[in-house]
Subunit: 353 residues, 2 copies
């Protein structure tokens, strides 16, 4: 079957509509002809289903690929992804976000496409804003978004991204009306000296870590949260002065420049009823538990949460490392960010297509 | 047993030498008295082995900890680490790098200390230069270095660091004297069209990924390496011009700004006889194989290698994520950097004490 390269399309005669489109959904019929994108054409040329010429001159696979690379940005990346999905039996069509992918068993005309696939090179920086924009576009037409990340050796990793609400099941933090003894800010942590309060906070809501028998140490975000909820009072270990929430936040920001960002995520998650602990051993800000009955019998923590600014730009290597690690400990990787004073959560994970 | 806080030491009478030093190696005897650091004193006070006063006024644990925090930087972090190690049966003494740690079964006077322990807060940035300096200090006195990283909730992760030479077992890359067909730079990768060369490179030395039957795609670092070794010739897909190594490196740097850094590490590792492939799925630049008999039967890749600049400053969260991930796939995390045109490797891993 002969095709002709015209601009950035390959045009085939009407026989191709029957043979390539009707049976396997390659290309789009237009005015009695079949129009293929460069990607589709390269794939069919490589499989020797079609031949291609440009103004009478036949192009072999090498010549066509070289030509197509100069006509279409990221041609070689898109080709790699298209080929992979086609060879694994998916129907796939060009779309605004690179490709539309049909569910297994589905095809154009029978079922709506399920995914928008966006092809990204491992070297491209990917902004949170970009991801959220793709999510919005996809949501408006009831599709999901898939990022197909092509590494420098041509291997593909598929990621899906979705918004999530992180609803937990823990009720409000324990009310303690009687603040007996002030907690102290020592260095970069706060110590609760009151054994009763220490016990209630730790056993009731999994705040802090016992530092020494009945003494509890709280992290900066835990301390700020409990201070804001008026559960504790904090005195500065150096000056001996009582610290207001704002003053404490200021001191915390001096210790940890991204305190504000981390705190917003922490507060958002605690307010949602999640129990939030450090995720340091997993290289993330937090790990969370949806519910805890007893700190002696901790259930599996399902999420790692990392607080990012709303103008964050991911390096894909960083994203790959974070998600792969989360997966290796059977957790979902959640990125938390704040827009219009509201904390938002996006869940990005590896997906097998 | 009564101690007196004098400046930043706690001084006890000679009975303490017998009771605390001779049996358990707390403190250092000096002029017939026993001198404790603030950390040792806090630990013994917490365990009610001693009492402490300051100018006749007795200090309880809370008062002493508050005072000590103001007298010693990172007191609370060092206390957490000291307590953890002591409670697990280690003998530990103050030293230039925070602590000297004796091996299990060893103690001062019997055995030399085995480790220098450096206490670091998860929030401290840690420079490569710092790590290398500690390594040098430790090596001069035949000790190993341990980083005790205290997270915001007071949990400790121990890391060890050591230089490594990354010796591999693969002989020189296959010589190919007959370059039949030029390879093409297309976008951010290079395509080898010559089926014979493609086969030799891929099967002989695990270069590249088959893009399409007998066609091989090479990553930028692979291409540069083979170009430098005169195994391939590369033509720019856009201009049709043959590219010299320097011209290719320039183009590669435009595509990937850290190309030079990655390339040096790649070349260093290949020259050492390692087979080097992308580590993208593990969030690192490379994974390496010490030996490959056949690409159909790949052995386990033992190392992840990340190329960093020689003035790199680690965030400990980043370090934690990288190392935890490497460990979860049973690999060692290696950081490669170049000083004086020589590639160096440092192996940082979690260690259980």
């Amino acid at each position: 079957m002969d095709g002709e390269l015209v601009d950035d399309k390959v045009i085939l005669g009407d026989a191709a509509i029957t043979e390539l489109y009707s049976t396997s959904y390659y290309g789009r019929p237009r005015n009695g002809k079949l129009e293929l994108t460069l990607i589709e054409a390269a794939y069919l040329l490589g499989r020797e289903r079609i031949s291609i010429s440009r103004g009478k001159k036949p192009l072999n696979f090498k010549e066509f690929v070289k030509t197509a690379s100069n006509l279409m940005e990221k041609f070689e990346l898109k080709y790699i992804v298209y080929k992979d999905l086609r060879e694994r039996g998916y129907y796939i069509q060009p779309s605004v976000t690179d490709f539309r992918l049909y569910p297994r068993g589905g095809h154009p005309g029978k079922t709506p496409a399920e995914y928008f696939v966006r092809v990204v090179s491992e070297r491209e920086p990917l902004s949170l804003a970009d991801i959220m924009r793709h999510l919005e576009t996809a949501k408006n037409v009831r599709k999901q978004i898939i990022l197909a990340i092509v590494d420098e050796e041509g291997d593909i990793t598929f990621y899906d991204a979705k918004k999530t609400d992180m609803e937990g099941k823990m009720k409000e933090v324990v009310e303690t009306n009687s603040i007996k003894e002030e907690a102290t800010l020592l260095g970069d942590r706060v110590v609760i000296w009151d054994p009763e309060l220490a016990h209630t906070l730790h056993h009731g809501s999994f705040f802090g870590t016992p530092l020494h028998e009945k003494m509890l140490q709280l992290s900066l975000v835990e301390s700020a949260y409990l201070l804001k909820k008026k559960v504790i009072k904090i005195v500065d270990g150096k000056s001996g002065k009582v610290l207001s929430f704002n003053k404490f936040a200021e001191k915390a920001t001096n210790i940890e420049p991204i305190f504000d960002r981390k705190y917003r995520a922490y507060e958002g998650l605690r307010d949602k009823g999640q129990v939030v602990k450090t995720g340091f051993k997993f290289g993330s800000h937090f790990r969370t538990y949806e519910q805890i009955d007893s700190i002696e019998k901790l259930t599996h923590s399902k999420y790692l949460v990392h607080a990012i600014p709303d103008d964050h730009i991911f390096s894909l290597q960083e994203l790959s490392r974070a998600i792969r690690l989360a997966q290796s400990v059977r957790k979902r990787m959640i990125f938390a960010y704040t827009t219009d004073k509201k904390v938002q959560y996006v869940d990005i994970g590896r997906t097998k297509l």
